[in-house]
Symmetry: C2
Subunit: 502 residues, 2 copies
């Protein structure tokens, strides 16, 4: 029970530095898997001290709609790190997810999801798979800004910001460098979304240039996702936008073996939250059957984040050895490699007993002595200095109308718009759901009641008062705008997409 090989790190000396962090035990199976994880951390001598928080069911019942008491906000801000068990969000009644609330309010911009196969102990069709998905965690269509402005059409805003791209992409490269990774893949759909996904891709290229020692590649999301789903071993670190990352990280976790064993880190500039991906599973709560591995892996990511790479590696290796020894919780039982079905507590004891041992088949986690810098410090890296502010010039406006007259024939709408355009503007095009319907539409185009009417300033420049005057003339003509999008150039470069056929 003490075969520590020389390639394995030994735990950092206890007491050299103690990290004080917040702990939420969670609901359902949360308390018992938390106990299991704490047992292992304690036995390993992990230099952490926990401040317990009441997040979740109790807090909801006490009237906090997001399940977070005020004291918890203060504690998280003070400690900077939270290890969180799974939480049950009550259905209906306007309750909000603890998770989403913390992520958004605390600026936890990077969601980090390692997906490593443990075949044959956890069967996977991709035994060599070892992928880390770094997902942008705040932007994209997940900002939840939606509007219904006509009978037929609803809209969601996809917002992408340069600093938002910069910090998550920079984090992905730092993560890759400090964890001995070789490649960072960026997945976007910038062949279609040239401005939004194009920005993410462009920032990726900029930051990749600063890390010539890492391979950097870009793939289009559709075929890239297909490759990840069929050949995950081709990937190492993946960085992508929120929505794509949401989909890819679940795919990768399932391919690796089980979403039930997955952990994630939600990392921000000054704060970070670590959790298992699975839910609170109230049906098996209190039965000592839940697998604590997801939360344990989350705790190990936390240790790495705190700079305790050697401690994390030591526990990771004991955990791998436990799996190799065939001591499996019920969810992992398989004919080929399981020797004994153990409970939550017994599994934790088995891991603790193996501290100091290395796995014999699976690849042991090792630590390169030069790489023990805290990820915490890299999460807070300063953003790239803003480029000199571009000269911004307003050149027109897209006015959107709810219009359901004249058989929805754009040719009937255009003259009214042209009359309102006056001498200051010209009507450039009308689209319906992005498809040009004037000038020169196609009869096959489905026209909803939602029209985008593009007005360009006659002399290539217009002030805001002119835009309001145009809207007033439209209003006088009985055409109420339901929304507007101003058109700008930045240093002479067009800041808006051309209409299809424009």
């Amino acid at each position: 029970m003490s075969v520590v090989t020389s390639t394995l790190p030994s735990p950092a000396p206890i007491g050299s530095r103690t990290h004080r962090i917040c702990l939420a035990r969670g609901d359902g199976i949360g308390p018992e898997i938390t106990d299991a994880v704490l047992h292992i951390l304690r036995e390993a001598g992990a230099p952490v001290e926990f401040e317990p928080l009441e997040l979740g069911e109790r807090a909801y019942r006490a009237g906090h709609s997001a399940g977070i008491p005020d004291a918890a906000w203060d504690a998280i801000s003070a400690r900077g790190v939270l290890l969180k068990g799974p939480i049950t969000t009550p259905q209906g009644g306007g309750y909000k997810s603890v998770n989403v609330t913390l992520r958004k309010a605390l600026g936890l911009y990077a969601n980090v999801r390692p997906c490593m196969a443990l075949h044959p102990y956890v069967p996977s069709q991709h035994p060599g798979m070892d992928v880390v998905i770094v997902r942008e965690n705040e932007e994209d269509t997940y900002g939840g800004i939606e509007h219904r402005q006509t009978g037929e059409v609803v809209q969601c805003l996809k917002l992408i910001s340069r600093p938002g791209c910069e910090r998550v992409i920079r984090y992905a490269f730092e993560y890759a460098r400090r964890n001995g990774r070789r490649k960072v893949s960026c997945l976007t759909k910038d062949n279609i979304m040239k401005l939004t996904d194009g920005l993410f891709h462009r920032v990726f290229e900029e930051i990749a240039r600063e890390s010539p020692e890492l391979e950097a590649e870009h793939r289009i999301i559709d075929i890239g996702a297909a490759r990840l789903a069929t050949r995950p071993c081709e990937f190492d670190v993946v960085v992508t936008l929120n929505l794509y990352g949401d989909i890819l990280s679940d795919i990768a976790a399932e391919l690796a073996g089980s979403i039930g064993m997955a952990a994630s880190a939600n990392v921000g500039g000054t704060l970070a939250m670590f959790e298992a991906v699975h839910g609170s599973a109230p049906d098996i709560a209190g039965k000592n059957v839940a697998n604590p591995s997801g939360l344990l892996l989350a705790a190990l990511m936390m240790l790495e984040h705190l700079g305790e790479q050697a401690m994390a590696a030591s526990i990771h290796n004991a955990w791998l050895r436990t799996l190799e020894d065939g001591l499996h919780t019920a969810d992992l039982m398989n004919e080929a490699t399981s020797k004994r079905c153990v409970g939550t507590r017994e599994f934790a004891h088995a891991v603790a007993m193996r501290l100091g041992l290395a796995p014999k088949v699976l690849k042991p986690r090792t630590v390169d002595g030069t790489n023990v810098l805290q990820l915490r410090s890299c999460a807070a890296l300063p953003l790239i200095a803003t480029a000199a502010r571009a000269e911004k010039r307003c050149v027109g406006i897209d006015v959107f109308l709810d219009w359901d007259a004249h058989g929805r024939d754009a040719a009937q709408l255009a003259p009214q718009l042209q009359a309102a355009a006056g001498t200051a503007f010209r009507l450039a095009l009308i689209t319906n759901r992005g498809v040009r319907v004037w000038p020169e539409g196609h009869t096959q185009t489905l026209c909803t009641d939602h029209w985008r009417c593009r007005f360009l300033a006659q002399d290539d420049h217009c002030g805001h008062a002119m835009l309001l005057a145009l809207q007033q003339r439209l209003l006088d003509a009985g055409l109420e705008s339901i929304k507007t999008e101003n058109l700008y150039t930045f240093d002479g470069e067009r800041g808006y997409s051309a209409g299809q056929g424009e």
Copy 2:
């Protein structure tokens, strides 16, 4: 060579009805795989007559920026059906894809992608897989409506319309019914995008109710995609929004064996286009090595669309038998099942020679005599009658600002906005990238230069003139809006999402 079993359909009598359709041979390998497909159709006696079109390279060179001459538009509109070989879009110079142009301009609203495993002849880890992805083809973020309005933030509109949802979902159910399918799965992210994805989900539920004989299920896209990637045999017909469908259809094609053998139908109310998913592969053009299977499968979908189910099944079975007999083009060569590597022409001849034969191992395609209704007619099904028009009431406006003053502190911005709100409006909240920053923001929230300021009418109703007056007051205070989103209720129900924390 004539073991026609009684369970197999015999081809429809030749000459009973001849369909006139448009044919574009395409670029690169296009002409040779088209010849191969035409040989098979001819030998099978398929009742189709082709009108050749010049789409692609020649048309681009002749000055048509989308590769489509005027005469081709007329021909496609007149014939209603196009079989299209792969086309090379020239790089740069403002050339547009023939594909995307046709899809959008002609209202080809459903993209249908069957993904069937042919294991062991085309190796797949999911031998029983037989999934059809029906992807909405026009809406979502693919409308290409993007705006940059501040130095840091770019935006893309995600537009979802009720009629757009209705017709693709209705098509999916009709497709399922007429092709002997049992289940339709809908995938959305409506736990986050409650209005847009919520609309798609709601329309799915409505239409599912009309087809009680088909199983209908909804899954969240992240875990649904993970299931599709790991257990595709659980799926039958999948219907989903444009972006999700783009990703899922490539994943499913790769899982089934090869994206190089995939075909797709782009179906509209009056027109349809059928094509292979792969590209024009100029590197192997003219060498008689390309696999014509993708375009052949596209032609078979075309026959089904035309109501020639029996003819399609007969050719499909001959093609399956050819694969079983181990006559494989270079891309399919594998140790386990390949007997001979054949060229494009030889493969086509081998299929033609097997007309009337059934596969011995793979499942033969059969036709139920009651199901020969044309899919063409179902594509043109009338939309659900519009519900009585809801009472729409304007209750406020979201004004977006480019603001980069006072250290980007929302608490400094709010008083200026409150002053401009006057007596008619009250400032309800300010968000930055969807995160509330006023009232009661968190210091950890990253603030870009892009602010959403929500004004609600004091008496719960406002006219358009009031909205313009508000913008004028903001302008007078030096705050120019960069975009606006009006806030409406529909029959009293809120048509806009609450701000996080509102």
